[in-house]
């Protein structure tokens, strides 16, 4: 039971991380109708920025702030230079163009930081575990990730639902042409939205960096998971992305932890050990395929559509 709680928390933590990526992806997808495969590259860049700044200053907080700001800036520059030219084009052009950007960013990172990968170490006070329920200790840093991501999710909700910028974002999602016709600087709005998505991705990269190594291609597999999340949640729906992130995070983590045991009852021990992780990795894709076939608009579609 204690193990179960721990695994659930791990699942929520992964889900929160996925949400940070998926939120930006679903905004860009919903508003600009852009399939952005290079979103994972911004996640990677965020992690590299943070690792570099942390090595220079020795402060995790400074690294976090600088990395998020740098990701925001990189995203906006990228949008102005390249991405904005892809709007209104065929999805196939998006796939080709942003696939090219992945190659470019991976190589750029290799040029600047080398191929070896970096690590980002946490301040020592983060390395402790806290007792969440009597008898259950959980790493403090993972709790921090959950809480920080929740705070960011809350902030995002306030920005999107309660501010003028958010109103424009929502308006842009439901009818682009009309917003432009009403005199809103739609180009600037798109740049801001893309930058916001990049900053969220960068933030996710920084938060995840101390747990995993910072390496080239780190954004590629998690990007696909983020796509799975926005398809399950419904394209363009931040609420959907939030709920689907937690579902996917829980399925992946809890499945990985318990499927081998469950399979043990059905299969031989050896087969269960190898089948378990494979099956739990597949489970979210099975869920996504099921959602696409049965409820193509997603489980929690955006209300405006």
């Amino acid at each position: 039971m204690l193990y179960f709680i721990e695994q659930c928390l791990n699942g929520v933590q992964l889900g929160m991380l996925l949400f940070l990526l998926a939120a930006g992806l679903t905004l860009v997808f919903g508003i600009m109708d852009l399939v952005n495969l290079a979103h994972g590259s911004l996640y990677m860049l965020g992690a590299y920025f943070a690792a570099t700044v942390a090595a220079l200053t020795g402060s995790f907080v400074i690294a976090l702030v600088v990395a998020v700001a740098a990701s925001l800036l990189s995203g906006m520059v990228l949008e102005v230079i390249a991405i904005r030219r892809l709007y209104g084009r065929d999805h196939l052009d998006h796939v080709l163009g942003t696939f090219g950007l992945i190659l470019f960013f991976n190589e750029l990172v290799r040029l600047i930081w080398g191929g070896g990968g970096l690590s980002l170490s946490l301040p020592p006070e983060m390395l402790t575990a806290v007792e969440i329920v009597p008898g259950v200790y959980y790493p403090l840093y993972r709790l921090v990730i959950i809480l920080a991501s929740l705070a960011v999710a809350g902030l995002l909700y306030v920005v999107v639902m309660r501010t003028r910028l958010g109103m424009l974002i929502r308006a842009g999602a439901s009818n682009r042409e009309m917003v432009g016709a009403l005199g809103v600087n739609i180009k600037l709005l798109y740049t801001l939205v893309f930058g916001l998505g990049a900053a969220l991705a960068g933030f996710a990269g920084v938060m995840q960096a101390p747990i995993l190594t910072v390496e080239i291609g780190m954004g590629e597999n998690i990007l696909i998971l983020a796509f799975v999340v926005i398809i399950i949640g419904g394209i363009g729906s931040i609420r959907g992305a939030f709920l689907a992130s937690i579902i996917v995070g829980l399925i992946d983590t809890v499945g990985r932890a318990f499927l081998p045991d469950l399979l043990n009852h059905v299969l031989s021990a050896n087969a269960a050990v190898t089948m378990g992780p494979a099956l739990s990795s597949m489970s979210m894709y099975i869920l996504m395929a099921a959602v696409l076939v049965l409820r193509p608009e997603g489980l929690f579609p955006a209300a405006s559509r």
Binding site: L96, I224, T274, Y285, P296
Partner: protein
């Protein structure tokens, strides 16, 4: 739909069939001639590497032409096409490991397994369209990827070396590089011929019609989902053959064969060469692989140039290299 339809007509509708040698046709013929005489050059210069490199080009070109059949002619953007390369490869690898080395068994199994998988994936994915189709094909390819990672007996994550290439009872020796090269080349030509026949048949016209306007095709009485599904299965089977060849070429199979970036590579090859053109995917595959190879000789960071190039192609080149040869620009 009154006159017969040239395949070149389908992507743009502004190319009238011409009798004289266009730059595009000349380029295609030149490329085919180079490919046909390449082993001669390799033997004369003793450059075995160039033959290995071009064998790879040709095998991946089979994958690319099969993807072009559904993506270029059928409008089905599959982002999971590398799965068939993997399934074809694993069919050969698994049978070889279990002691069945005969190519007469291995290759039909590779093709049938890929076709079966394509049938399942197509039946579910073709209910969706647009970006959802892109994502669901990707999802199925990821599933196949994770299944192979779980195959501990067959190497799991690390992959599986193939100790013996497919045996054809003395008919052809696949360890002979030249023989293997020509076999791949002939199979590529057969695939291109088949696709030419398909896109010019009534069946192919229905599929292309469904790409242009699916609703209208259904309104005039064609059950387009069925047509598309058959087309999807044919493409999968063809790519499964490419997978079987690839496994024989590298003597090795691993889940990395079907990583989603490999599917991305295939899309790049098709679009780079020219979507919906008969020889475009071959040109695109050759360009992509040779460019990678050339760039990696002059710089340590080839993708620094290749990446932006792809972006530029996506932005400014319509119809890929084939389109450029036509002199159409946008």
């Amino acid at each position: 739909m009154t006159t017969s339809v040239d395949p070149a007509l389908t992507p743009s509708l502004d190319v009238a069939p011409k009798r004289r040698l266009t730059p595009r046709a000349a380029f295609t013929v030149a490329l085919l001639l180079v490919l046909a005489f390449l082993p001669l050059y390799a033997t004369l210069t003793g450059d075995a590497f160039v033959l290995t490199l071009f064998t790879r080009v040709i095998i991946l070109a089979i994958g690319a032409v099969s993807l072009n059949l559904i993506m270029g002619y059928g409008g089905m953007v599959s982002f999971g096409h590398a799965a068939y390369l993997g399934i074809g490869g694993y069919a050969v690898g698994i049978l070889a490991k279990e002691g069945i080395a005969s190519g007469f068994i291995q290759w039909p199994v590779a093709i049938a397994a890929s076709a079966l998988y394509a049938l399942a994936v197509g039946a579910l994915s073709l209910r969706t369209r647009g970006v959802y189709f892109i994502m669901i094909t990707l999802a199925f390819a990821q599933m196949a990827y994770y299944v192979t990672i779980g195959l501990d007996r067959y190497g799991g994550d690390d992959g599986l070396p193939i100790r013996q290439r497919s045996q054809f009872g003395g008919l052809i020796d696949l360890t002979n590089k030249t023989a293997f090269y020509y076999l791949c080349f002939v199979l590529l030509l057969v695939c291109i011929y088949l696709i030419w026949r398909i896109v010019n048949s009534r069946f192919g016209l229905v599929v292309q019609g469904a790409r242009v306007n699916d609703r209208r095709m259904r309104a005039i009485g064609f059950p387009t989902p069925r047509y598309k599904l058959v087309c999807f299965v044919i493409a999968g089977a063809m790519c499964g053959l490419a997978g079987a060849l690839l496994a024989n070429h590298t003597n090795f199979i691993s889940p990395a064969m079907m990583h989603w970036t490999r599917s991305g590579d295939l899309i790049v090859m098709v679009v780079l060469g020219g979507l919906g053109s008969l020889f475009g995917p071959l040109i695109g595959t050759a360009t992509f692989i040779l460019l990678q190879e050339a760039l990696s000789r002059v710089t340590q960071y080839p993708d620094l140039f290749l990446g932006p190039l792809l972006l530029l192609v996506a932005l400014y080149v319509h119809g890929g290299i084939q389109g450029l040869l036509e002199g159409r620009r946008e």
